[in-house]
């Protein structure tokens, strides 16, 4: 990517790169890709937990963006525009795979899978920080529906009304699934800490 690095070394602004990309400048496209690839790929990876699928979706998201770049007028931030496009691409792919949005009354799959409510005895509290790798593994292990809502809300920062529109569920369902996702992560992280503590 020597040409793109040259652009970066010349401190090309994103706005300049967008205008040059509209003219068909290959270096400008590559510069924009380099600027946003990690954010888009990470989103796709968090949602699918599959590197090959995430790369395909990353490719598709950028292609859709670049095909429409001539229509970008700068009303919103470019990154926001790309971000929403990436989310739509991922959600469309998940719909194709028939990932169901579980209705509110059916959010408890089974007693074994539902986060256990521990009432009465005090719970140990997680430490003040969480290892990023452990958290990532715990997120990857979430059921797909919980993972999707958790990634959209807590990682990507969408509000529940936005998630409800994108995913096609109610706001109440979105909040319920998010809560269950966090409870499952809490359980997984506590188990992981306990296992680590018992190892010699």
């Amino acid at each position: 990517m020597t040409d793109a690095r040259k652009l970066q070394g010349d401190k090309l602004s994103e706005a300049e790169a967008i205008e040059r990309a509209k003219q068909g400048d290959a270096e400008a496209f590559e510069f924009l890709f380099g600027l946003h690839k990690r954010r888009v790929y990470s989103l796709c990876l968090r949602m699918t937990a599959n590197t090959a699928e995430a790369e395909d979706l990353t490719q598709e998201a950028f292609l859709q963006l670049f095909r429409k770049i001539a229509t970008f007028r700068g009303e919103s931030a470019f990154s926001t525009w790309l971000h929403r496009m990436a989310v739509n691409v991922v959600l469309m792919q998940l719909r194709k795979k028939s990932l169901p949005v579980v209705p509110l009354e059916e959010t408890l799959e089974s007693e074994d899978e539902a986060p256990k409510k521990e009432l009465g005895a005090p719970d140990p509290v997680l430490s003040g920080s969480i290892d990023r790798l452990r958290l990532q593994r715990a997120v990857d292990a979430l059921p797909p529906g919980y993972r999707r809502i958790f990634v959209l809300h807590d990682v990507e920062g969408f509000e529940h009304n936005e998630i409800a529109t994108m995913v096609g569920c109610s706001i109440g369902n979105s909040k319920s699934q998010l809560h269950k996702a966090r409870m499952k992560l809490r359980e997984a992280l506590k188990t992981s800490r306990a296992e680590k503590a018992t190892k010699p």
């Binding site: 990470s42 292609l63 719970d123 990532q136 958790f150 807590d154 966090r182």
Partner: protein, 212 residues
Amino acid sequence: MNCAEFQKFLPELIDSDRSAEQESHLKSCPECSGLVADLNLISREAQQLQEFAEPSPRVWNSIEIVLRREGLIREPHLGPALVPPVRRSWTLAWLAPVAALALLAVGVLVYQREVHEQNVAQQPASSPVAHLSVPPGKTVNEDQQLLEAVGSRSPAMQAQYASDLQNVNAYIHDAEQSAQADPNDEEAQQIVMDAYEQRATVYEMALDRSLP
């Protein structure tokens, strides 16, 4: 309010204010306050997952191939135009003989390359020239036949597909070198397969264009 009642409303308390009764329970209950603290911590720490991973180089390679094929990437002019732009009628008038000349030139180049390939084939296997631009098992003839098929139907796209093939063959070459360096690297093997798939895609697109 007891713990069961408080925790029943926890999903609704996400992103919203707590009532006075709920706040009072939270202050007096170590279990519920510990639970809420843990859930808030998980939510905060989740943001550090935002930009963790990086895609492989094949992603950009694939994007670039498609952008070039769709004409979204246009080669820049090397300098100010030395001749004024021709009118459309002129362009159409001389396109046919120019296309014919281009095909003739390509044919000559192919013939010269075939002669060179035959000479190279007689060289030792370690010669770097033998495997430079065409994947093993493939010959220049296959690519050239494809380009001729495209050129016969759509001369304007022939150069585009020639560029696509050059890019994807270089990608295959790099991917195979990587895989050969570490035969146990499954990801490298997958990248090789992906590279061949891309080549197959270029062929598929080119043949679609060349069909009536």
